[in-house]
Amino acid sequence: MDPIIRIKNISYTYPEGSRPALDGVSLDIMPGTFTAVLGSNGSGKSTLAKHLNAILLPSGGKVLVDGMDTIDEGNLLAIRRRVGMVFQNPDNQIVANVVEDDVAFAPENLGVEPAEIRRRVDAALQQVGMYEFRLHAPHLLSGGQKQRVAIAGVLAMDPEVLVLDEPTAMLDPQGRREVLRTVEDLCRRRGITVVLITHHMDEAARADRVLVMDAGRVALDGAPQEIFPQADALRALRLTVPDTTALLLRLRAAGMPVPAGALTPEDCAAAIWEALG
């Protein structure tokens, strides 16, 4: 299988920037996978995300989406159809006065048939748990509800890749759970490729692969079970480890035979219970 996104040694410096925001990043993203991107503020995570659907174009190197070079303007529409983005602040992403109109905005602009738009809008709103609010005014919704509408707006474009830049930063625990469940469901059941940028270690723990960015480069790349036990390396990169890992590392240091890679609370508790015998 070919990667859906190929990134070949890209670099990028913002016009006002004194140092590159991306400095030689290469990676392939396989279709249907769930990748989490971690890194401190200013490490280049968001800059990387914006290269995935040609919002930013690399100063050096190449980004290929489904084989199409983002630098080629003729590919722009096709790339944006395949790769949808959801940003941190929903207020900047909502344009219409009625929820369902907002979700319909992108497919309308793509010239999708009205009946198909209706189907996509309803399905997208159901997937994010906002169907019952379809006739509400977005400005009267809470922040978490607005964010779910923004995600529905991207889903209505029927993308192959969903890139989310800290989509849960402002959501309450239930909103976070719903969004994460939606994102996981889109990946596991519908085969949508997910790239999730986050500061929440417990969200990254659910991914297939974790990338840790530092100073515009990929510092760590591997399965969450490999990455999170590296507590010292993560701390040096201004990150932390999930509480599950922190607990297991503490118990191991005290001589308890528990695996450091049991990342979910359920696995963690089971491992400890077994070790307690």
Binding site: N41, L140, S142, M170, T244, L247, I272, W273, G277
Partner: protein, 287 residues
């Protein structure tokens, strides 16, 4: 006398329309000087509506808000006083920077207080130092700052008012773990130094574990109010209103369900690790 005393507060949005919604219902709450109170609750539980009454941005539909025993809605003068004595940092305050320079932005509040120039200058420098904003940034446009610096500048603007109650709505959202920890430490240090009260509105249970007292809201009412230890012992109730336990408390609960003799008061990784190791010690002991 309590710094803030809220009695029977009710706030109804869009009254008389199909969207009518009581966001806060007959709520009583007292806040004292000193200490950090965490206000937690599901989206739409009424937290933002509640805090908007503390500095008179919203007027109660019913009930009163007393600041040092005075009704803050009594007169225009009392409303103005409340705005000066209660500082509110809303979500993403970095979008609210508007002056030409960082210095002017931080000085905006103290200027409105009609303070003398040296006093304004002292406050600006002190507030910037508290949040860890370098004075080298003073002459720059707020737009040139990084996201983290903008957040600090915006918070400094409120600290420069030297409020007696500082309310922050999700102040650490979007910050990396090290930045989160750093900002929290600075806020705790500020509160200590000024003997002010801090009210932290948050969804982040890791932050909630650091507060002295937690107030939990659901559907416009306060449903739990106590120390983190007391509040986190109500795991089922928290789950039923869409909140979750801190991860350590959750793991402790899963272990208790399996039969481990762990107390319900554990909610930090440290305390849980110690309790588990103590259990192991018992298990190893000869019967």
């Amino acid at each position: 006398m309590s710094l803030i005393e809220i009695r029977g507060l009710t706030h109804v949005y869009s009254q008389g329309t199909p969207f009518e919604k009581a966001a806060v219902r007959d709520l009583d709450l007292t806040l004292e000087r000193g200490g950090t109170v965490g206000l937690i609750g599901h989206t739409g539980s009424g937290k933002s509506t509640l805090i908007s009454h503390l500095n008179a941005l919203l007027k109660p539909t019913a009930g009163t808000v007393l600041l040092d025993g005075e009704d803050i809605f009594a007169s225009k003068a009392s409303i103005r006083t409340a705005r000066f004595r209660v500082g509110v940092v809303f979500q993403y305050p970095e979008y609210q920077l508007f002056e030409e320079t960082v210095y002017a932005d931080i000085a905006y509040g103290p200027k409105n207080l009609k303070l003398a120039a040296p006093e304004i200058d002292r406050r600006v420098r002190e507030a910037a130092a508290f949040v860890g904003l370098d004075e080298g940034a003073f002459d720059r446009s707020p737009l040139e700052l990084s996201g983290g610096q903008k957040r600090r500048a915006a918070i400094a603007g409120v600290l420069a008012m030297e409020p007696e109650l500082l309310v922050l709505d999700e102040p650490t959202a979007g910050l990396d773990p090290a930045g989160r920890e750093d900002l929290l430490e600075k806020l705790f240090a500020w509160r200590e130094a000024r003997d002010a009260a801090v009210l932290l509105v948050t969804h982040d249970m890791a932050i909630a574990t650091r507060c002295d007292r937690l107030v939990v809201m659901a559907e416009g009412r306060i449903v739990l109010d106590g120390t983190p230890e007391a509040v986190f012992a109500h795991g089922d109730e928290l789950a039923s209103i869409g909140l979750e336990l801190p991860e350590a408390a959750n793991i402790a609960r899963l272990l208790r369900d399996k039969g481990a003799a762990l107390p319900s008061s554990l909610y930090t990784v440290d305390a849980l690790a110690q309790a588990i190791l103590a259990l192991r010690g018992k298990g190893d002991a000869p019967c």
